[in-house]
Amino acid sequence: MIRTVNELQEKYDELSKMVQGYHMRILVCGGTGCIANGSLEVYEKFKEVLHKKGLYTDLKLIQEGKEGVGISSSGCHGFCEMGPLVRIEPKGYLYVKVKAEDVEEIVESTVLRKQPVKRLLFKDSAEKKEFLKENEIPFYRRQTRLVLKNCGKIDAEDIRDYIVCGGYKALAKVLTEMTPEEVCDEILKSGLRGRGGAGFPTGKKWKQVLMQDADIKYVVCNGDEGDPGAFMDRSVMEGDPHRMLEGMIIAGYASGAREGYIYVRGEYPLAVKRLQVAIQQAHEWGFLGENILGSNFDFDIHINKGAGAFVCGEGSALTQSIEGFRGMPRPRPPRTVEKGLFGKPTVLNNVETFANVPLIISNGADWYLTIGTPGSPGTKIFALTGNINNTGLIEVPMGITLRQIIFDIGAGIRNGKKFKAVQIGGPSGGCLTEEHLDISMDFDSLEAAGAMVGSGGLVVLDEDSCMVEVARFFMDFTQRESCGKCVPCREGTKRMLEILEKIVSGNANIKDLQLLEELAEVVKIGSLCGLGKTAPNPVLTTMKYFKDEYMAHVVEKRCPSKVCKGLGQLAIDPDKCRGCGKCRKICPASAIEGKTREPHKIDITRCLRCLACVDACPFDAIREE
């Protein structure tokens, strides 16, 4: 139990000394991606081999002065596609795609002979060389990892690792040197904007709660990352949970709250477990509970597991869900800062926002303002996925261009295909095209382009993707996730989906396109909450930037990317066709020609696409192309 700031400093010094005593430490990535690829087996194998060789292994920190090899499981490194990842400290070697069979060789050569295992290093096909250390790899080289600094480098289940990295010093500073007003002002000055997507100034929100005259206030952390294609919150919760807790405790002090709630997605069992461990450790060490660090400040944190409702990412729906109701948004005002959880003033921020707080407090608002753009300071974590070479989690300064992200960090499009578009910010965001490649990635520029930072999901699409189908996919998602409370969202998204389905199946006419656009505007203006208000964004942006694709579907009944099944052209495979004539006889448009016992042909201009011939063919020779 740490009671004073001095004790925290002493502990820090003591732990730092212990870390310097490391002979070597092996960190096996224990993030969800790497676990899926078998990193736990690698971890167990390391333990087994090191034990067998009689090398001293302590699963946690090594005792001072003792030589040996420590092994820990870390959080996500972000380079998920290359997993399982293994880091060797203090050398900083990063091994990729490590299998249990490789462990013996790593121990033999790296641990015993201090030589890297070349074949396990990351190799870049463009630069045609291998990289010894993480920060040399192009994927990492161009990133600015501040919030994710510890992810992959520390054991997320050991609070001591976080303290060695300077953890809880920001909390100590706040409790001993600053008043709640000063904390709010510092955050306000830093220009930190909510990383959940909308980008509301965080300091302003905190101050509004602080100003409220209420005996009970709450801090709520939104960890309900429901956006398809985003996983940054998951990685922070799994890889560096204490950073987020520290941010929440500081928010509690700054706003006058004594209780915090974390609402985590039910689909993230590992995040829930790591948070539970972190909260328990923070209690044991005195960073949570009563009289934190000898101050008069009390704070406690509870975890609520979500039950699978996308709309619960919306503030007022989320608080309803924590209260044990259906997670439905309510009209505002009153806003969450006035009447939030249990009707009390509430600070509600996203995981990444809270994780930024200790950085700002420790380094100062002026330092923070040197990163990013004047309107959007700091960094943003993006989940880079889709048809791109390097998928994973990246942290970049705001204001970086899309081109730098996709071609420098992401190493371009897979299989040498052409870049077509990027879907940013999930179902609330929009599509950006080639002409936007040099756009500055910050809150305001993206909004001006009709997209938004949103959750930070970046799904890259290549030339083979059909934009109408992508729009249909997102509409299908938002329609399913609509809570049904307000009519524009409940009925509007349903009708929009119907029209999009008509388009991709080739049954739409030009009037449907007009109706779709009209409906999109109505849903956007008339919906109660953010889910409905942003649901038409993917449709509107694809209609704006890919009008020709919509027209091809509607007018020419053709899918230029050959994705939409309903718009494929029928063709007879001459190798399979035996010329039995069954298809010719059944075709209502007389579109099939051919002599008996000779391969038949379909005249596409006459074909009605009734598919009767497909059913009639006994040889499975008629297919959509």
Partner: protein, 167 residues
């Protein structure tokens, strides 16, 4: 046997209710724990919870039907979730879904196999997008899926369950 609710043994449910202090704000957590035992929310248990907690049945059923992770239908022993998030979708998750349906012989909207061995669901995103397409079987994540890999995984489970019955 845990699935036998006909004996009206509410002991386990009582323990959960006590753990959460009968507090209405804990309703979702209570449902989550009940579902862990029965693999779904049996009607009788819901009625019991309504009476024991003094909450109107309308609210109980309202909450139970609102959230996707709650099921009022019995679920199979093995829960397969095919991810259809954006990243998985652009890497052809629909093929994984159709193959899985085919292997399990599920037609139309049926989600659970007749032998109660498997339930198939789709989820919107599992947050493992780097490994797309992804499926989850009983909370274990499998990445970079192909139809062949799915077939193998399901076969393994089937074999294991046969062996269980033999022994």
């Amino acid at each position: 046997m845990v699935n036998d609710i006909s004996c009206r043994n509410f002991e386990k449910v009582n323990k959960i209710l006590e753990k959460y202090d009968y507090k209405p704000s804990n309703l979702i957590s209570i449902f989550q724990e009940v579902q862990e035992i029965y693999r779904y929310l049996p009607e009788e248990i819901l009625v019991y919870i309504s009476t024991a907690m003094g909450i109107a049945p309308s609210r109980i059923f309202g909450v139970a039907t609102f959230y996707e992770s709650f099921s009022l239908e019995p679920k199979g022993k093995n829960l397969i979730k095919v991810c259809d998030g954006t990243a998985c979708h652009v890497r052809n998750s629909d093929k994984i879904l159709s193959t899985t349906k085919e292997i399990l012989n599920l037609k139309g909207d049926t989600k659970t196999t007749d032998d109660m061995l498997f339930t198939l669901d789709t989820v919107s995103c599992l947050g493992a997008c780097g490994l797309a397409p992804v499926i989850v079987i009983n909370d274990k994540v499998y990445g970079n899926m192909t139809p062949e890999k799915v077939r193998q995984l399901i076969n393994d489970i089937k074999e294991a369950s046969c062996n269980d019955q033999d022994s």
